[in-house]
Symmetry: C2
Subunit: 259 residues, 2 copies
DNA sequence: CGACGGCTTGAGCTTGCTCAAGTTCAGTGG
DNA sequence: CCACTGAACTTGAGCAAGCTCAAGCCGTCG
């Protein structure tokens, strides 16, 4: 319980506990909190030990108690459809908040599973509410984080509705890259923690299509990929493809171009 | 100031002002607020006069000031993609909250347009925050309403990713019907306030496909439809279709049935 | 080493998109 | 009151993107 105020030093145990020292604090809930209020937040946050790959963080239908923030590693959220098939709803990287789906009904509407060894912070929801009431900045930041997830879902929705398969995959890869950049990580080296099956499911494509597109992108010099290791060679071309600026055949009607 | 065209009830002017008297109060923010706190909320809520069809409530990129609750009528939210096409993100019926997308960035990420003559309540966001701090029930209810929209988006995502065209339309119609029932309205008589083009865009289908499916559903005795007036004749069959329990050809692989 | 899971590649087929031509209906003007 | 116009919708025929089915490959684990 010593407090050696070492700013950038290597006290892992402390780092793992303290929001103030967390590398994610600018993206996460502490972002707009003053130094003096930080202990109030930290008191509410519980720290998990790392979870192995393939573990369930919470399951569809289970009661809702806490929000979770990804600290390291990654998660997928999936929901089971009425016909028994599963739908991957999202992939969650460090700084992302998961569990918001459950607030409305008091129980989870999707299942969250780790894709690799992953650490999360647990934040009991009633504690958040208490602290948020006393720390206005936290309140606002919580809304902001929620809204961020909301926007991400809406962008995904647009992708699913309107895009061809190659565009979908390009958008997905660009998004992963951009999120890595936002986290201060090398944006051109991706380690795909999710399977081809997860990717296909997420993008509304079958696994074979995903596989073929990876091969095609590789042939076209956009990237190299072997198993889970992916390197983006031509980010700009990928971005153009994602934006629908398909160098080759464009001008097609897309689906329902309003007006 | 006279109020002709009284629908069913008497004092429209008062009804339009008071949350306590609003038919939507069980779905909307007042749901969990005690009688004694109601005036605090009502003080924050501003009332719009009705908007004609085709009006913009807020536009993509405009600054964020307030949330809106649909009181009567309906809205669509759309966002413009990088390639210039538009994507319909959602349709919003009485009781729905719109504007949440804007909290993260402080400006709207989509445009909201009325589909018919529509009344909304405007709730300045900073007022909400203030009141919510003093009225814990409102805080919780606000989270709940936000989460409800979240869940709806996720369900839509699952539809877009996994379903065949007939299932998508069936899900859409069933959802409209169910939402009408939740509002205490006749669930089998729908007035489609949105165009075929909007529906197709929302569901990721071209307008021709939507039109053909309406005809087909009609041939199969599921419903009757002429222009905007739709009557569901066999809700159960529609629900089965929506659930993927396609009476005829089933057992197809769907897209990426995880595992 | 063999078996299994995850991934890749190939060949054909189906769904739903594209293109094109009608039809209906509300609104407008003669 | 009817013809005219345009927007919204319907219907048809053909085509291709991406799904289905099938086989084979690679790397890991027991």
């Amino acid at each position: 319980m010593t407090d050696p105020s070492g700013e950038t030093v290597v006290d892992i145990a402390r780092l793992r506990r303290s929001c103030g020292a967390c590398a994610l604090s600018q993206l996460c809930l502490p972002a707009t909190i003053g130094h003096e209020d930080m202990p109030k937040l930290e008191a509410a946050v519980r720290q998990h030990r790392p979870l192995d790959a393939g573990r369930t963080l919470f399951a569809e239908g289970s009661p809702f108690n806490e929000l979770h923030v990804v600290r390291s590693g990654s998660l997928k959220t999936v929901s089971v459809q009425s016909d028994g098939t599963e739908q991957v709803l999202g992939f969650h990287l460090p700084g992302d908040v998961v569990g918001l789906d459950a607030v409305a009904e008091g129980q989870h509407r999707c299942t969250a599973m780790t894709l690799e060894r992953t650490t999360v912070c647990d934040i009991p929801f009633n504690a958040i509410e208490d602290v948020a009431r006393r720390v206005p900045g936290l309140q606002r930041q919580l809304y902001r984080v929620i809204s961020r997830e909301f926007v991400r879902d809406q962008e995904h929705l647009a992708t699913m509705g309107r895009k061809q398969a190659p565009e979908r995959l390009a958008i997905f890869l660009k998004s992963l890259s951009d999120r890595r950049r936002a986290l201060g990580l090398e944006p051109l080296e991706l380690t795909l923690s999710m399977s081809r099956s997860d990717i296909g499911n997420y993008l509304g494509l079958v696994i074979e299509t995903v596989s073929r597109l990876f091969s095609r992108f590789q042939d076209e010099g956009l990237l190299t990929v072997q198993r889970r290791a992916l390197r983006i060679l031509d980010y700009d071309a990928l971005a153009r493809l994602a934006a629908g600026m398909n160098d080759a055949t464009e001008g097609s009607r897309q689906r329902s171009p309003l007006r």
